[in-house]
Amino acid sequence: MGYAPGEIMACVAARELHDGEVVFVGIGLPNVACNLARATHAPGLVLIYESGAIGAQPARLPVSIGDPSLVTGSLMLCGMADVFQLFLQNGRIEVGFLGGAQVDRWGNINTTVIGDYASPKVRLPGSGGAAEIAIHARRTLIIARLHPRAFPAQVDFITSPGHRARGGTRAELGIPGAGPTRVITDKAILAANAASGELELAALYPGVTVEEVRRGVGWELVVRDALDEVMPPSVAELRLLRETLDPGGVPRVTGWYRGRVMRCGRGSVGCEAATEMIGNGAK
């Protein structure tokens, strides 16, 4: 069965989540991925949204991170001071989703500006909760579409730190979380080198060549000796996505890339501006 890049990305992200884990969810693709995981192998996944919904079970795809469907049927609703202090800073979040206009070779993410901060070429939305998710979630998953401008060697602005920010490692900087363990793209999975923290090609999607991935990355990408195999979306996964979890709306979240597909997580609305920037060429 054929599938869209967004569909395999949602499946790959869902497979990264373990039953019972506490996940800080973003809107768009991460939300679909979390619900796919709940509907398949991880029924006990706990969904936490920065808007204060703890243990949410949204009955529709939330358009925004504060959608009223996150409220109805939640386990707990709390103020945002509690979300950031009692859940995130407290170390209760096991997985955080992040996206961004730019992701660099160390997994640093930029959702703030393209160009100079004081006179930006493109002003992106900013951090939202992304900086502290990157710092405190025990591990993060980055969702981003491969493109050399989206994967530069160095981001213009570090909104959310990866494995090596401005020369310092996470340990040296005193950052509690482990950082981005996987970068889930539309063609492949990148993962950090355990020693250096540099992102490497770890797995290819079916039918994708190493060369295609290299073309989407703005640095000399290291390719691991043994690449993991990514299984295509199963018929069951695709059915769930198309008939139940992401059935409609124009376009579908996991449909072909058309702007909205990249709305994935707080910072990642920056993806949209990036997509737009890439589409228009640098102004």
């Binding site: 809107i27 109805t72 945002m80 930006p120 900013g126």
Partner: protein, 300 residues
């Protein structure tokens, strides 16, 4: 004593040119009715603070109310950009001053303000470039452990406006659903305006005191404004108007279209009641379906 006044009087009395103004609400309960009245009364040189400037501040920036924006995420949630904001910040030179944090940083600023402390410590910002562009993000050495912590300064607004589902005439305000940072923002503020869907007798408030997030004793004015949060939403009353948020992408992209929107829907209406009257389809499209809570006993 009743604090109930019209929106026109509340804004005229409590919001002045040059004020630090907060209209809070995280996606939920954003008082567009108050913002529109501020625009109609042509307030100028405001420092607007919010975690998410949202469409509401995009409109106020476009209307010329804002000199400065203090924020942590400036996008149109789920729909794209805030183009009036982007035009102001991307122009050479920028026409709007900005002071930028993360959500946790903004929440911490309100927490310090509410507790009347000069700053708030947080374990945050390691490895980010935010402190490099915002000198107000600093650090302190913990006197007990010796570890470095980030700090942000208290934010004490001149006036904070919050929308709530209901309040009594003295301003004891009850909110359910997403709570955002309204409690901290209100306690941090010099003056507080509460806007409600429904004015209720004090007996309703006293029957369920756990639901009160803002006590009347810190409230200066109460405004009764049904549908006052539209296109934001009020849990249990009406849904978010996601279609409008999507439309804002096209409206705000073109300054002339944006100006025409303000002419028709802000300057062109006397108040929120007229704004609602002119959109009779809102009820059928957005009125909430009931999902009642259980009851608890407060007896002893």
């Amino acid at each position: 004593m009743s604090k109930v006044v019209s929106m026109r009087d509340a804004i005229a009395e409590h919001v002045h040119d040059g004020d630090v103004l907060v209209i809070e609400g995280f996606t939920h309960l954003i008082s567009f009715a108050a913002a529109h009245e501020v625009i109609r009364q042509r307030r100028r040189d405001l420092t607007l603070c919010r975690l998410t400037p949202d469409v509401i501040y995009d409109q106020m920036i476009a209307a010329g109310c804002a000199a400065k924006l203090v924020f942590s995420w400036a996008g149109n949630p789920g729909a794209g950009s805030l183009h009036a904001f982007r035009r102001a910040v991307e122009s050479r030179p920028p026409t709007l001053a900005i002071e930028e944090y993360s959500h946790f940083g903004m929440v911490a600023r309100f927490s310090a303000g509410a507790a009347r402390l000069p700053f708030w410590p947080l374990n945050d910002y390691q490895g980010t470039d935010l402190p490099g562009v915002n000198p107000n993000i600093r650090s302190v050495t913990c006197p007990y452990t010796g570890t470095a912590l980030a700090t942000v300064p208290a934010l004490n607004p001149d006036v904070t406006i919050v929308h709530a589902q209901r309040a009594d005439a003295e301003g004891n305000a009850q909110v359910w659903g997403l709570l955002g940072v309204q409690k901290e923002a209100a306690f941090a503020s010099q003056r507080v305006i509460v806007v409600v869907e429904e004015l209720v007798p004090s007996s309703v408030i006293r029957a369920d005191p756990n639901r009160t997030i803002i006590p009347g004793l810190i409230v200066d004015a109460v405004v009764v404004e049904p549908w006052g949060a539209h296109p934001s939403y009020a849990q249990g009353f009406y849904d978010r108007d996601n279609a409008f948020y999507v439309d804002w992408e096209a409206i705000s992209r073109d300054p002339a279209t944006l100006a025409a929107y303000l002419d028709e829907w802000v300057y062109g209406v006397a108040d929120r009641a007229e704004y609602v009257r002119r959109q009779p389809e809102l009820v059928a499209r957005l009125a909430a379906k009931a999902a009642m809570s259980g009851e608890v006993s407060y007896g002893y």
